[in-house]
Subunit: 279 residues, 3 copies
Amino acid sequence: MFELKLEKESLFLRVLEAILDLVDVASVDFFSTGLRLQAVDTEHVAVISLFFRAEEFPHYSCEENSSFCIPIDDMVKAIRTADVDHNITIKVDDENFDTITLSFESPEGNITTAYDLRLVEGERPCFKIPVWKDLESNYEAFVEMPSVEFMRVCRYLSNVDDDGEISVTEEGLKFFALGKSGRAMIKYEKTEKATVKLQMQESVSVTFDPKYMNCFAKVSTMFSQVKICLSKTQPLMVECKTALKSYIRCFVTPKAIPEIEEEEIIQGHSSERTRKTKD
Amino acid sequence: MFELKLEKESLFLRVLEAILDLVDVASVDFFSTGLRLQAVDTEHVAVISLFFRAEEFPHYSCEENSSFCIPIDDMVKAIRTADVDHNITIKVDDENFDTITLSFESPEGNITTAYDLRLVEGERPCFKIPVWKDLESNYEAFVEMPSVEFMRVCRYLSNVDDDGEISVTEEGLKFFALGKSGRAMIKYEKTEKATVKLQMQESVSVTFDPKYMNCFAKVSTMFSQVKICLSKTQPLMVECKTALKSYIRCFVTPKAIPEIEEEEIIQGHSSERTRKTKD
Amino acid sequence: MFELKLEKESLFLRVLEAILDLVDVASVDFFSTGLRLQAVDTEHVAVISLFFRAEEFPHYSCEENSSFCIPIDDMVKAIRTADVDHNITIKVDDENFDTITLSFESPEGNITTAYDLRLVEGERPCFKIPVWKDLESNYEAFVEMPSVEFMRVCRYLSNVDDDGEISVTEEGLKFFALGKSGRAMIKYEKTEKATVKLQMQESVSVTFDPKYMNCFAKVSTMFSQVKICLSKTQPLMVECKTALKSYIRCFVTPKAIPEIEEEEIIQGHSSERTRKTKD
């Protein structure tokens, strides 16, 4: 059906490892040009969408398009046991349609290790993630920053982690988080020679849950640059790209500002936070 | 109101980090000459008292004496997120009387991070810790040892951790701990060239809970020497000093030997350990 | 009664540390020629049997044969607190028959640390582990491999950890594990120059619980080679030896293949796994 080879320290595996914090099962589509992985976190707030071109792998073959639901947590755990110099092969055979096989081969070739992992049964989740051309036109502001800088921001915000906000205005870029212990604010002034590049049609401010940023930060460490796309109507998007234009996009639904109803105020309770999916 | 600057790797911050095991909120008094921090652990057995002179900080200004109750756990957590080369400023403004602001500035100056942490409300705890002249006259024996040696002792005692005892006699210094699994004993003979210096008016033996020693050991790693003061009537005191005579003093109330009442023995229960505060 | 000296980084202590995962109390017999330690895990599936010759220790003296039940977990914890350059003495006195004393001496000799640990009371467990000549004749197949290779196998199997199987056949050596997430298989082809040596009278296949292999793998890291002995009637044995012919042998009872009764199948339950001790 399909077969790909890769190294233990490959970007693809490190990205899978990073997204395990949010998702453990992913829907994967294999095309002749590459593979697409999509996954949604258990709280249905974050969506991971990844496309890796065939050229990213030392070997990639896919005779016919196929789709599987893969337990990426089991897969990553199994691959962790491989030696660094092992050649790792991942494949699904026509005969064993319900199993994904990982095999490790020692450079000498006389020792073989194989894991047969059960594919996840049932309806694979379906995401309607629009292609990029569509996406770009829907976003009003774009931030590009070194991933080192993005990680620093996530580290700051993680400390005060109840409500997060990113805003891009004429003055520059601002991150803000509010928590029980206080609030955090990081400001980047718009300067010519700044490493943080801003592009905007109009001022945008997007709320989000800071906890998702930590996973995105982890993913971003594997890339040099991060692109953040902000829109008043679309989920916040964080995108990283390889030199070969493979990409991973992390979407997070904005946090709805809780609408406190009168009755609740009277009772002295704050309303439970609700989320609105804007799609 | 007051403002001080410091570096991430400063002694002051490392001391705060070390005492977090015991306390999360501290009462802090700002004077023009320096700051005093006092805190008591939740079990009311250990008291931390610290005085850091203004000269210990790259910048320190305090226009009028002021006192706050500071969430040092939140403060330390926030400062942990700072970069090593950041300039850290801590201040309370006259306008925002209920907030302590931490701000980090990158060396280039175009990125600013600020945390506004809520000060702890309510009556600040009041400790009547006598000044040093008073203290010294109340103690009967003094031990000075390299903090490396003190840490070693704490490591030994932590292993058998029910009841601790320090005693200073003509023969030398003895640490002793008794636990379920057995007992531990460390003896330092009194020799001329020993790194452990003893000074005594009379033999003193003080009981303590070994778990507090671990926190004191952590604090002591930031200093080269530790002074232990023993008294039959005062809480055990462990003191460390800087070259500028700033100090941190850790007091721990002696463990009272449980007085087992007859009734309890009959019921087959051992009495709950009680503590007597000797003040 | 007996006294031995050893260094903190000695093989003996590192082996004790490794077996702590399985056992916390051990029956130890002191002979003039060396000491024998035997322990069984709480589930009564694994047995550790160790014999260390007197020559392995810098000092070893045993005037008359004696047997104790030693809390090796407390002993290892206490020894962990010793400094690397300390001389460690372990002894049981004729006077303190219920206590094992560990003492650490600094090279200068002016600081002494001593732990008195309570020996475990009660009947000491009795194992009838036959001596080696007996054992060898009862096993049908033998595998010798570098411990590095054995650890790799254990790492693979630990990932899919419900049911393990080792088999030695004419084709070579095969490890197999089956779990909820799938199955793992490692094959070593029988080649002339392989680092894995096989010796067999007939094909043998032994089931085991992979979780025990991790502890054995830990033990094996202290040795260069591992010998695995397989039999249709004896517990699986993993043996490591020192240059002086001291040894540690780990036995694990084969996992019985669950006999699913009809009634249980009807009720939709799988029977609880049972173990049969073959002795």
